[in-house]
C-alpha cells in the first residue's frame, strides 16, 4: 500500500499499519496502511460507507481494530490509550454538547479531563474561545447557541489541550459558508503551529485548497494516498493545457501535432485543450512555435486538477 512521505525526514505522527475492522459479516476497513508526517492536513475522501468514519474512530481509540495497529506520536493507541489520547483531538460528524453548561465551563471541563496544568487552563480557554470566535458567548449557556456556534465550540473542545493530532470526521457539516471559511483558516493556522490534521469528508470542495495530502477510500480500502501533487502527477504524467486563440488565425492542429510531447488534442474553432508531457522549457517552446506559426494566442494555461477531478477519475464509486 502507498506510504506517503516515507523517505522524508519529518516526524511521522499518525501511523495506521495493516488496519482492519470487521462488523459482523462486513469488512468496514481492510488492511489500511498510512503514515502521515507532522504538519500535514490529510483529507480522507470517499463515498458514504467507504470506511472513513471507522478509520478515524480506530485512530482515536474509540474502536478496537480487528487487526493491525494505530500509533499516534509513536504510541500504540490500543495498548496505551491514556498516553495516546493526550496527543489527540477528535470531533465526530454528529455530536452534541452539554447544553446545561456555559461555554467557558464546557472548555474548562475538557481541559481538566485532558489533565492540563491548572495554571494554564484559564489562559488557554480564553485563547481557544478567541480562535473559534465565541468571545461574546463566553458566559452564555450552551443551550442558547446556534448550531454553527455549537459546532465551533466542538472544534474548540477538540483543540483545547493543544493536540499534536486532530481527527475530524465531516467537521463542516452544519456550518454555513462563512463558518466553513473560518474553519479552513483555523485548520491552516493549526497546521502552521505544527498540528497534524486527518480530516474526512465526502464533500470534496470542503477539502479543496487546504489539504496537503489525500487518501481516497472505497469499500474499506485505500485506493490512492499521498500528497495531492504527487497523486496527480502519478495519475496524469501529462499536464492538461487549455488554449484560446483569435478567430481566423492560422490553423492550430498541425502545429500541435508536430510536437511529440502533445497528445489527446481536442479543438474547436477558437479554443481547445491537449495533454503535454514535456518540460516547462519545451512547453514555452511550443507556445513560441504557435505564435511564430501565426496563431493569435489569447490564453495558454495549464489546467490544474481539482481534488474532485482526481477523485472522479480514481474512484470506482463503489460503496459497501
Amino acid at each position: 500500500m502507498p506510504i506517503i512521505a516515507a523517505q522524508q525526514q519529518i516526524e511521522t505522527v499518525i501511523e495506521l499499519n495493516n488496519l482492519s475492522k470487521e462488523f459482523d459479516d462486513l469488512t468496514a476497513v481492510s488492511d489500511l496502511t498510512v503514515s502521515i508526517p507532522s504538519g500535514e492536513i490529510y483529507g480522507l475522501i470517499g463515498p458514504n460507507g467507504a470506511g472513513k468514519t471507522t478509520t478515524i474512530r480506530m485512530a482515536c481509540g474509540l474502536l478496537a481494530p480487528t487487526q493491525g495497529e494505530v500509533r499516534i506520536a509513536g504510541i500504540d493507541v490500543v495498548q496505551q490509550p491514556d498516553q495516546a489520547q493526550q496527543y489527540v483531538g477528535y470531533l465526530s460528524d454528529f455530536f452534541s454538547v452539554y447544553e446545561d453548561l456555559k461555554v467557558w465551563e464546557y472548555l474548562d471541563y475538557f481541559a481538566h479531563a485532558y489533565k492540563m496544568q491548572d495554571a494554564e487552563i484559564a489562559g488557554r480557554i480564553t485563547e481557544v474561545i478567541g480562535q473559534v470566535g465565541l468571545e461574546v458567548k463566553r458566559d452564555a449557556l450552551i443551550r442558547g447557541l446556534s448550531r454553527g456556534m455549537k459546532q465551533r465550540l466542538g472544534i474548540g473542545r477538540a483543540i483545547i489541550h493543544r493536540p499534536k493530532v486532530l481527527l475530524l470526521d465531516e467537521p463542516a457539516s452544519g456550518l454555513d459558508p462563512k463558518a466553513r471559511f473560518d474553519l479552513r483558516n483555523l485548520l491552516r493556522g493549526l497546521r502552521d503551529q505544527g498540528t497534524t490534521v486527518l480530516i474526512s469528508s465526502h464533500i470534496l470542495t470542503e477539502l479543496e485548497g487546504f489539504c496537503t495530502s489525500i487518501g481516497i477510500m472505497e469499500k474499506g480500502q485505500l485506493v490512492r494516498s499521498g500528497r495531492i501533487a504527487e497523486v496527480t502527477a502519478a495519475e496524469n504524467p501529462a499536464r492538461m493545457i487549455r488554449l484560446r486563440w483569435m478567430e481566423n488565425s492560422a490553423p492550430v492542429a498541425p502545429l500541435l501535432s508536430a510536437s511529440s510531447e502533445v497528445s489527446g488534442v481536442s479543438l474547436d474553432s477558437v479554443e481547445g485543450r491537449f495533454h503535454f508531457s514535456g518540460t516547462d522549457a519545451e512547453l514555452a517552446q511550443l507556445l513560441a512555435g504557435l505564435i511564430a506559426g501565426g496563431v493569435q494566442v489569447l490564453s495558454f494555461a495549464e489546467s490544474k486538477q481539482t481534488v474532485e477531478d482526481l477523485y472522479m477519475k480514481l474512484s470506482r464509486h463503489e460503496v459497501m
Partner: protein, 526 residues
C-alpha cells in the same frame, strides 16, 4: 475517590445541577417539606395524646397519662427524625438509581459519550464522577435536610452513634444502588424504555429484599438499606427480630450491609472499570478468570449467608419463624437453584462479540488459540465454574455438617444435579451466543425471550400430558427442562432414564449449536 470534589466529571455535574438559582429554589422546598413532616408528626402525636387523655379520664389512669406526657415532646422529635431519615433514604436511593441508570446510556444517546472516552479521564475517575455527580442534587437536598435531622436527633435524645450510623447507612445504600444503576446504564444504548423499567424494577427489588430476612438467608436482606436503617430508627421494636448471620454468627445489620455493598460493589466496579471506555459492541463484563472468581465468590456468599435454624410459616395471616432442622439435601437444592442463576449470569457476562469470535476462530485454525482462550466460546469456562461450585458445595456441606449432618450419598447425587443444571445452562448460553451472531436487533433480549418461550411451552406441554399420565409428564419435564436437578430420584450416581435422555438431548443441542457457530464465524467477511 478521595479528592472527588476535584474530579472534572463531578465538577461538571455540580455546575450544571447546582446553579445558584436552582440551589436557592431547592433549599426552601426542602425546608417546607421538612416543616410539613414536622407538623404531621406533631399532629399525629397530639391526637394520640388526646386519645390517651380521654382513655385515662374514662378509666382513671392518670398515671398512664402522666407517663405519656413525660415522653411526649421527645417522642414527637423522634417521630420527626424517623420520617426525615426515611424520606432522605428513599429520595437519595431512588434518585441515585434513576440518575445513574440514565448516565452512560444517556450520554450514548446524546452522542457526548465518545468525547468523554477520548479524554484522559480513567474509567475509575469517570465512575466516581458519575456516581457522585449524577445524583448531586439529591445529595444537596440531604445536606439541606441535615440540620433538621440533627435538631430532631438532639430533641429526641438519640445516641450520637445511632445518628451517625443511620446517615452512614443511607449513604452506603445510595452509593451501592447508584453503582448498580451505573452498571445498568453501561449495558444500555438508550436511556429510554427497558433501562428505565429495569431501574424501577431494581429499586422495588432492593426494597422488598428486606423480606428475605425471614428466609434461610436472613443476611441477604442487608442488600436493602431498610434492613440496617429500621433498627437504627427503632421502627420495628418487636422481640425476636431476625438477625443477619455469617456462618451462623450474629452480625449487626450495618456490618452485614457494609460487607455486601463492599464485596458486590467491588464486582460491579471491576465490570465498570473494565468496560466504561470500551466501544459498546466490544464490551465483555468480565474476563474468563474474573468470571470464575465471581462464580466462586457468589457461591461462597451462599454458604456464608445460610442460616439453617429458622423457617417461616403463617398463622392466621401473621408471619412467624420457628427453628427447623434442614437436611443436607435441602442445602443442595438451594445451592443448585443459586448456581442455575450464577452459571447463567456468568454465561451472559462472558458472551463474545462476533468480531472477537471470528478472530479466535482464525487463530484457532492456525493453532495459535486454545479452547480456553479469552475470546473463545464460554462453555469450557461454564464447566470450570460448575466444578468450582461443586468443590465449594462439598466444602459447604462439610462446614455445616455439625448442624445439617452429613451423608456421603448427597455428594454424588449433587454432582449429577449440578451436571443437569450445567448442561441446560450451557445449551441456553450457547443459544444466546448464536443469537448474537445473527442480524437480529437486541439479540440478548430476544435470545432470553426465545428461551422463555421454550420453557413456557415445555411447562404447558408437561401440564397437558400430566392430565393423561403423571409419570410420563414427569419424564417429559426431565427431558425438556432442568427440573430433574431437584428430582429426589437422583440418588448417589443413579438417575432415572428420562434424566439421562435430557442430558443426551442437551449434549446433542450443544454440539449442533457449536457446529453452527463455528461455521458462521468461519464464513469470510464481505
Amino acid at each position: 475517590m478521595l479528592r472527588f470534589w476535584r474530579n472534572p466529571e463531578f465538577v461538571r455535574h455540580c455546575r450544571a445541577e447546582l446553579r445558584r438559582n436552582r440551589a436557592l429554589a431547592v433549599l426552601p422546598v426542602v425546608l417546607v417539606i421538612g416543616a410539613l413532616i414536622g407538623l404531621g408528626c406533631w399532629a399525629s402525636r397530639a391526637s394520640e395524646l388526646e386519645a390517651v387523655r380521654r382513655w385515662a379520664t374514662q378509666f382513671h389512669r392518670e398515671d398512664h397519662l402522666a407517663q405519656f406526657q413525660t415522653t411526649y415532646v421527645r417522642d414527637i422529635w423522634r417521630l420527626f427524625y424517623r420520617w426525615l431519615m426515611l424520606v432522605q433514604a428513599g429520595v437519595l436511593s431512588f434518585w441515585s438509581l434513576l440518575a445513574c441508570a440514565q448516565s452512560v446510556s444517556g450520554e450514548r444517546e446524546r452522542k457526548t459519550w465518545d468525547f468523554q472516552r477520548t479524554t484522559r479521564l480513567t474509567p475509575g475517575e469517570l465512575l466516581v464522577g458519575k456516581l457522585l455527580g449524577e445524583p448531586v442534587l439529591a445529595y444537596f437536598m440531604v445536606i439541606c435536610c441535615f440540620p433538621m435531622a440533627l435538631a430532631a436527633a438532639i430533641g429526641g435524645k438519640l445516641r450520637v452513634s445511632d445518628f451517625v450510623s443511620a446517615y452512614a447507612m443511607i449513604m452506603m445504600g445510595a452509593l451501592f444502588i447508584g453503582l448498580v444503576g451505573l452498571w445498568l446504564s453501561s449495558l444500555l444504548e438508550s436511556r429510554r424504555g427497558f433501562g428505565l423499567l429495569a431501574a424501577i424494577g431494581l429499586f422495588v427489588l432492593f426494597v422488598i429484599s428486606y423480606n428475605v430476612r425471614m428466609s434461610n438467608y436472613p443476611g441477604l436482606a442487608a442488600f436493602s438499606p431498610l434492613a440496617g436503617l429500621l433498627p437504627l430508627l427503632q421502627v420495628d421494636t418487636a422481640p425476636n427480630q431476625p438477625i443477619a448471620t455469617i456462618f451462623g454468627q450474629k452480625v449487626p445489620w450495618l456490618v452485614a450491609s457494609l460487607l455486601l455493598y463492599v464485596t458486590f460493589g467491588a464486582w460491579l466496579v471491576v465490570m465498570l472499570v473494565r468496560n466504561l471506555k470500551r466501544d459498546y459492541e466490544g464490551m465483555r463484563l468480565l474476563t474468563r478468570w474474573q468470571a470464575l472468581g465471581c462464580a466462586a465468590f457468589v457461591n461462597f456468599v451462599v454458604y456464608a449467608a445460610f442460616h439453617p435454624r429458622s423457617e417461616t410459616f403463617w398463622v392466621q395471616g401473621d408471619m412467624m419463624t420457628r427453628p427447623t432442622a434442614p437436611t443436607p439435601q435441602d442445602l443442595v437444592k438451594l445451592v443448585v437453584v443459586f448456581n442455575t442463576v450464577i452459571l447463567f449470569g456468568i454465561g451472559l457476562a462472558t458472551l463474545v462479540p462476533y468480531e472477537r469470535l471470528k478472530v479466535w476462530s482464525r487463530r484457532r485454525a492456525e493453532g495459535k488459540a486454545s479452547l480456553l482462550a479469552e475470546e473463545g466460546l464460554a462453555w469450557p469456562w461454564l464447566a470450570l465454574s460448575a466444578v468450582i461450585a461443586y468443590a465449594l458445595l462439598v466444602w459447604g456441606l462439610l462446614a455445616w455438617r455439625s448442624v445439617l449432618g452429613f451423608e456421603r450419598n448427597v455428594l454424588s447425587a449433587s454432582a449429577l444435579q449440578l451436571l443437569t443444571v450445567l448442561l441446560f445452562v450451557t445449551g441456553d448460553v450457547i443459544f444466546i451466543q448464536w443469537c448474537r451472531l445473527t442480524r437480529m436487533r437486541a439479540p440478548l433480549l430476544k435470545g432470553v425471550l426465545y428461551l422463555g418461550l421454550y420453557y413456557a411451552t415445555a411447562i404447558v406441554l408437561t401440564i397437558v400430558v400430566s392430565l393423561g399420565s403423571q409419570p410420563f409428564a414427569e419424564a417429559l419435564s426431565a427431558v425438556l427442562t432442568p427440573v430433574a436437578a431437584f428430582d429426589d430420584r437422583i440418588v448417589s450416581f443413579r438417575a432415572p432414564l428420562s434424566v439421562g435422555l435430557g442430558w443426551a438431548l442437551q449434549c446433542v443441542f450443544i454440539g449442533i449449536m457449536i457446529a453452527v457457530i463455528t461455521r458462521r464465524v468461519q464464513r469470510p467477511a464481505n
